[in-house]
């Protein structure tokens, strides 16, 4: 399972993202990156290095000012909002530092939210969400609301929500940033278990301990990639 041999899932081809009109500030400048199936990658860098901008672009939450982003061969820039939304829903699973669960929905409801508007029967939605919660060890707490759960449990619900659609790419933004050491280790174990030859996992972090779990490490500084290393397992 060499990460280099997988199919390209997501390609950034000389992508720039600039802000401002009169004074143009580049958050990302001519970055090229290929994420392949099977990749378990960490994007690291200090604050202001362009990590968040990168995450927004990888997650199709933002569009580049220049350059091309292809997901599974499709140029993201050629899609309208509905097309980009569909691509996000089908190809990408997000895990955020602040979990971002919908407070009035149960764990089950939160996971099912990722399956809405896809012509699935209610039973199929329920079954798949339940299976995803089982996978993160929270099947028994499906009916609990976020407020009734610990931070670690909330993050596991968020991971279940990210994997329930069986996406090509899981994008995690500081996934352990709001967790204590035990819960953080637990979450990282889950990420390890999610690795598969068909899927890529990308974590954006400034925590080197988290980055150490990844096989591939992309380092960023001042809006550019300064290193892209493959680390063989110890």
């Amino acid at each position: 399972m060499s990460p280099v041999q997988g199919q390209p899932l997501l390609e950034l081809d000389r992508v720039s993202r600039a802000y401002g009109e009169e004074v143009v500030v580049y958050a990302l400048r001519e970055v090229s990156l290929t994420i392949r199936a099977g990749d378990f990658m960490a994007i690291i860098g200090p604050s202001g290095s362009g990590k968040s901008t990168m995450l927004g672009l990888l997650g199709v939450l933002d569009l580049p000012s220049d350059g091309v982003i292809r997901i599974d061969g499709v140029d993201v820039g050629s899609l309208d909002d509905a097309g980009r939304s569909k691509m996000r829903g089908e190809s990408i699973g997000f895990v955020f530092q602040q979990f971002h669960l919908i407070p009035h929905l149960s764990a089950q409801g939160n996971v099912e939210t990722a399956l809405l508007y896809r012509n699935l029967s209610r039973k199929e939605r329920t079954d798949r969400a339940r299976a995803a919660l089982d996978r993160v060890g929270l099947g028994a707490r499906a009916g609990h609301r976020p407020v009734q759960m610990s931070g670690g449990e909330q993050q596991r619900v968020a991971i279940a929500r990210a994997i329930v659609t069986d996406p090509l790419l899981i994008l995690a933004d500081e996934p352990t940033g709001a967790l204590d050491t035990t819960n953080a280790a637990n979450v990282m174990e889950i990420f390890e278990s999610l690795r598969s030859p068909e899927r890529a996992i990308v974590m954006v972090t400034h925590d080197l301990a988290v980055a150490d779990h990844a096989e591939r490490r992309v380092s960023m500084l001042d809006g550019q990639i300064v290193a892209d290393e493959i680390r063989l397992p110890a």
């Binding site: 604050s47 990590k51 968040s52 995450l55 927004g56 997650g59 939450l61 933002d62 909002d81 509905a82 939304s85 569909k86 691509m87 996000r88 829903g89 089908e90 997000f94 955020f96 602040q98 971002h100 669960l101 919908i102 407070p103 009035h104 929905l105 409801g109 939210t113 990722a114 809405l116 508007y117 012509n119 699935l120 929500r161 659609t165 933004d173 500081e174 954006v204």
Partner: protein, 395 residues
């Protein structure tokens, strides 16, 4: 289709999750609709008894009467007034009546002087009268062709007179009409539109000619039923059709006109109160727009995550619009219930007849839905335009 069902579920869950907020913004459409229904309903109900009576009586009866022309004691119409009236295409049924002058009715010989002073009117009437007046017999039968042709001395008396002389239903009795004994064959029900008929004695035109020398059988009054909706035009043309340019003068009137005027709702008052209700509805809409706009900001994280999960701008916008629709439907329904309850309480307290125009609750509900949807447009657009990247605080 399943997309819309799921959207409805999401919108409903959104409303149910914030019950007190939902109830508060529902107050706007609820109060507005309730005020409009109560205002329109109560101002209608204030004249409810008159409206009910008018509906019962109908407005299509016209009374054409020969009026006093100079030099004539007892004004009469031409003898062929009935066929002339029937020649008007919008006339449905006609009944003729002729009041006989100088004929004294004495129900009791002992009280003859009383009835000479205050005479009971004697009317020659044709067989159509009850049908045209739309009244039935309290007891017995109306005058028929046999009575007319055979000169049978048959009389029908009005309900008022029957009560005055204590005539029991089914009792056979005769009554002295101008010195002739007439058999009372029936009692005519009270005629609301012409109370004078309640105390009258009716005999046939044949008997009137035979016994009281009313030779030419000229009616002085016609009761006419016009085709529904044509009563105004018919009453205008009737005098011309009856007189045909002759010397007689005929005046036609619609007896329910006065009643109709009395039963008219005070529209000025109705407009003012309904206008205040409408204002409440608009203020409610502003409230919905405000609260939902704030809610969009509060729920920006939810909107961001939904967008990240693949929900498009239009789906998110529609979700908020459906929440506004939900507020409109629930608020409108509650408003209809509250409005009807207020009407029921008001009509009971004031002892009015409950009059509800059937379109009113529907109009209230549709109004609440429209206004809420309009109020929901701005927050929905706001939600749709929210950039997920701004709300998710990455990195």
């Amino acid at each position: 289709m399943s997309r819309y069902r799921e959207l409805l579920g999401v919108a409903f869950a959104g409303l149910a999750a914030r019950k007190s907020r939902t109830l508060l913004i529902m107050l706007g459409p609820t109060l507005g609709v309730a005020a409009i229904i109560a205002a329109v309903g109560l101002t209608d109900s204030a004249k409810g008894d008159l409206k009910l009576k008018l509906r019962e009586l109908g407005t299509d009866l016209i009374v054409a009467e020969a009026s006093s022309s100079f030099g004539t004691d007892t004004p009469k119409m031409p003898a062929d007034a009935v066929p002339r009236a029937l020649s008007v295409p919008t006339v449905d049924r006609v009944a003729a009546v002729s009041e006989l002058s100088g004929v004294v009715v004495t129900p009791y010989a002992e009280a003859a002087s009383v009835y000479e002073t205050v005479p009971i009117p004697v009317l020659a009437a044709d067989s159509q009268l009850p049908s045209v007046l739309d009244v039935t017999m309290v007891t017995g039968r109306w005058l028929n062709e046999f009575d007319q042709q055979e000169l049978a001395r048959s009389a029908v008396i009005g309900q008022g007179l029957a009560e005055e002389i204590d005539m029991l239903p089914g009792e056979s009795r005769s009554i002295d009409v101008g010195g002739k004994a007439y058999a009372v064959v029936g009692i005519l029900e009270r005629v609301e539109l012409d109370p004078a008929l309640n105390n009258a004695v009716f005999i046939t035109f044949g008997s009137a000619e035979e016994d009281f020398n009313d030779e030419d059988q000229e009616p002085n009054k016609l009761y006419v039923r016009a085709d529904p909706g044509t009563e105004r035009d018919t009453s205008a043309i009737l005098p011309i059709a009856i007189t045909l340019g002759g010397s007689t003068e005929v005046a036609a009137k619609i007896p329910t006109d006065l009643l109709a005027a009395q039963s008219e709702t005070d529209t000025t008052l109705q407009f003012i109160v309904a206008g205040m209700g409408l204002l409440a509805l608009v203020v409610g809409a502003v409230g919905i727009a405000n609260v939902m706009s704030i809610s969009v900001i509060q729920r920006s994280s939810e909107i961001g995550i939904r967008r990240a999960l693949g929900h498009s701008r239009s789906t998110v916008g529609l979700q908020f619009l459906l929440e506004a629709l939900g507020v409109g439907i629930l608020g409108g329904l509650l408003g209809v219930v509250v409005g009807l309850a207020a009407m029921w309480a008001g009509t009971n307290l004031a002892d009015w007849v409950f009059v509800l125009q059937p379109w009113l609750p529907w109009a209230g509900l549709v109004g609440a839905i429209l206004v809420s949807m309009l109020a929901g447009i701005v927050p929905a657009l706001k939600a749709a335009r929210l950039e997920p990247l701004e709300t998710l605080r990455l990195g």
